[in-house]
């Protein structure tokens, strides 16, 4: 039922080039996603080589220049310049670093917290489980954005604080998934056997239970990266993100907002970057899900239901 609800799995009986073309066509969405994501990763890693200009270099006599193809634009600044005459393309390329690293690191932080708590609750059950469940309920009741905004306003906006705040406020998703799965897995034969052989709880959780959750977590984590990128951009948009002059997409969108009616490109290109990056990562996540764990479809709806962002 689930498989039919999604894209049909590639048939293995085909042969030769035709088979590969067919496969590629069937996987066109995840492939597009992988390409988009790849472009972003390359931009983030190779920013110093790819960016045509220093993203911080100002030239206030050449400010608010339109993109190259518009009247008054020049090939020196392909996407034009911002209010301080900084090259927009270079800032977007460097902005990929902030968005991508913030997204990935926040997911790592929240994943470690969430998975850890989920394993503990699911494996030990009883009181530990009750505590974990309570913590999840409390976190889920907070208006997430408000919590994050307040925490950052109190702690001061910086890259480190953003990663911490995003991580610390978004972990319940992992806990819910991991706890539910652990409850099931801990009763399976191989776990019972390991326990009978005198394996410690920590060892069993890490060696036997966690590997069984790997594909689920990979899918969930990749989709969460996309969500974190949007959240980070919104914090920056409100002026509570990575402080300037460091280029970040959300911050650029916020700065360009005032020019929306005339110099539309200043806010449009960073907005587009956020959109494409999020889309690419979501496609990859969806593709991974279909490949690794089609069963996840329903629980992912649960994930979306749990999302607070």
């Amino acid at each position: 039922m689930q498989a039919s609800a999604g894209r049909p799995m590639p048939r293995v009986s085909d042969r030769g080039a035709a088979r590969w073309i067919r496969l590629a066509w069937q996987l066109r969405v995840p492939i597009c996603g992988a390409l988009l994501t790849g472009v972003m990763v390359v931009a983030a890693l190779g920013a110093p080589y790819l960016a045509p200009h220093d993203p911080l270099q100002q030239e206030i006599t050449a400010r608010l220049r339109p993109p190259a193809w518009m009247e008054g634009g020049s090939p020196t600044h392909l996407l034009g310049t911002d209010a301080l005459g900084r090259d927009l393309l270079s800032r977007i390329v460097y902005g990929a670093r902030v968005s991508l690293t913030a997204g990935v690191l926040a997911v790592v932080v929240s994943g470690i917290i969430g998975v850890g708590l989920g394993l503990l609750g699911g494996y030990f059950g009883g009181r530990a489980d009750a505590v974990v469940n309570g913590a999840v309920s409390i976190m889920m009741a907070f208006p997430f954005m408000l919590l994050a905004l307040t925490a950052i306003a109190v702690a001061g906006p910086s890259f480190r604080n953003i990663v911490i705040v995003l991580g610390v406020t978004t972990w319940p998703i992992y806990t819910r998934v991991v706890r539910a799965e652990t409850l099931v897995i801990r009763e399976r034969e191989f776990v019972l056997a390991a326990r009978a052989l005198g394996g410690g709880a920590g060892r069993i959780m890490l060696r036997h239970i966690l590997p069984n959750l790997a594909s689920t977590l990979l899918v969930l984590g990749s989709l969460e990266v996309a969500r974190m990128i949007i959240l980070e951009s919104f914090l920056s948009f409100l002026g509570l993100g990575v402080p300037p002059p460091t280029p970040s997409w959300g911050g650029m969108l916020g700065e360009g907002r005032i020019h929306m009616l005339s110099k539309w490109w200043i806010a449009t290109f960073p907005g587009l970057a956020i959109f494409l990056a999020t889309l690419g990562i979501t496609f990859v996540g969806d593709g991974l899900r279909d490949l690794l764990d089609p069963r996840l479809k329903d629980s992912l709806l649960g994930r979306e239901a749990a999302g607070q962002g």
Binding site: M1, A5, G134, A135, S137, I138, M140, A141, F142, P143, F144, M145, L146, L147, L149, T150, A151, A153, V154, A155, A226, I230, S233, F234, F237, L238, G239, L240, G250, L253, R257, M260, L261, A267, G271, I274, F275, L276, T278, L279, T282, F283, D286, K297, D298, L301, E304, A305, A306, G307, Q308, G309
Partner: protein
């Protein structure tokens, strides 16, 4: 049922307590309100005096109990800036936020359920792919960006709808549309998958075989069964909806509690911030509780879990 209700009530109460602890720790341990409250020319003694007056010199647990007592008696302190009682300020703004949240939710449901159902019925067609693409695209679209676009197109270029404020029903349209974009993708996908599942079930096939019309089939049979999960998800999404009001109220200058909160956060006006956080969190708890109870009443299996 009574046992379940009691259990859920107790749970909700504990959650509220937890919320108050976290809010307290975040605002009272991380920042020093006395430093912010004193006039610029105040001496060190003035600051100490104020700390005593505010009870900031007492041990943390005692301060927490005082804070909790304040919440229970409706005393949330006064705004650092306007000196008005914080609770009054927030309560004045809450109706606007709830109005926006309900409008956004309503709009999302009205669009998502028909689109999702249609996608399920015409599974695999261009129509299905189109709505799925819309859902995926909608999820990747930053809502603040969407809000700005709506303003440019519908207010500035077409002059059809007002930009900001809350004077007439027309003022609600663009903010509600922006807010709905937070829920629309999720609800659309959910409706689609639920409908697919239900349409595949025997009694629907039987009904179809008996020649029951498609419309009747959907409205009388399928939707009736699909709406339990939809209610559950809407309940769970309430927090996300309120989170979305922050974005929406900022872009449209909607005079609601989230707008107030953003300004208070920027000014470090702690009493107002904590009042908004706690009231919104409590309302999320209440909504979740109510959905659980409604679902439990509809679906006996839940109670036995």
């Amino acid at each position: 049922m009574t046992g379940y209700v009691l259990q859920r009530l107790l749970q909700a109460l504990l959650v509220c307590l937890g919320i108050s602890v976290i809010t307290f720790v975040m605002l009272h341990v991380a920042g020093d309100p006395a430093q912010l409250l004193v006039p610029m020319e105040a001496s060190r003694e003035d600051v100490e005096l104020l700390r005593r007056q505010l009870g900031l010199d007492r041990p943390l647990p005692v301060r927490y109990l005082i804070f909790l007592g304040g919440i229970l008696t409706g005393n949330f302190g006064r705004s650092f800036f306007s000196q008005d009682p914080a609770l009054g300020l927030v309560l004045d703004r809450l109706p606007a936020t709830l109005e926006l949240a309900l409008a956004g939710l309503g709009l999302a449901l009205v669009v998502a359920i028909p689109l999702g159902s249609l996608a399920a019925l015409k599974r695999g067609t261009l129509w299905d792919r189109g709505t799925t693409a819309l859902a995926v695209g909608g999820q990747a679209m930053p809502a603040f960006w969407l809000g700005l676009m709506l303003i440019i197109v519908f207010s500035v270029k077409l002059r059809l709808l007002p930009v900001s404020g809350r004077d007439s029903p027309a003022h609600l349209v663009l903010p509600a549309a922006t807010l709905a974009s937070f829920l629309l993708p999720v609800l659309m996908r959910l409706t689609r998958s639920q409908m697919i599942e239900i349409l595949g079930q025997d009694y629907i096939r039987t009904a179809r075989a008996k020649g029951v019309g498609m419309a009747a089939l959907i409205f009388r049979h399928a939707l009736r069964n699909a709406w339990i999960p939809i209610v559950t998800v809407v309940g769970l999404q309430f927090g996300r909806l309120l989170g979305g009001t922050i974005v929406t109220e900022t872009v449209f200058a909607w005079p609601g509690a989230a707008n107030l909160a953003v300004r208070a956060i920027r000014n470090l006006d702690y009493p107002v911030v904590q009042t908004v956080v706690i009231l919104l969190a409590f309302s999320i708890v209440v909504v979740n509780l109510l959905t659980d109870l409604v679902v439990a009443r509809l679906d006996p299996r839940v109670r036995l879990q």
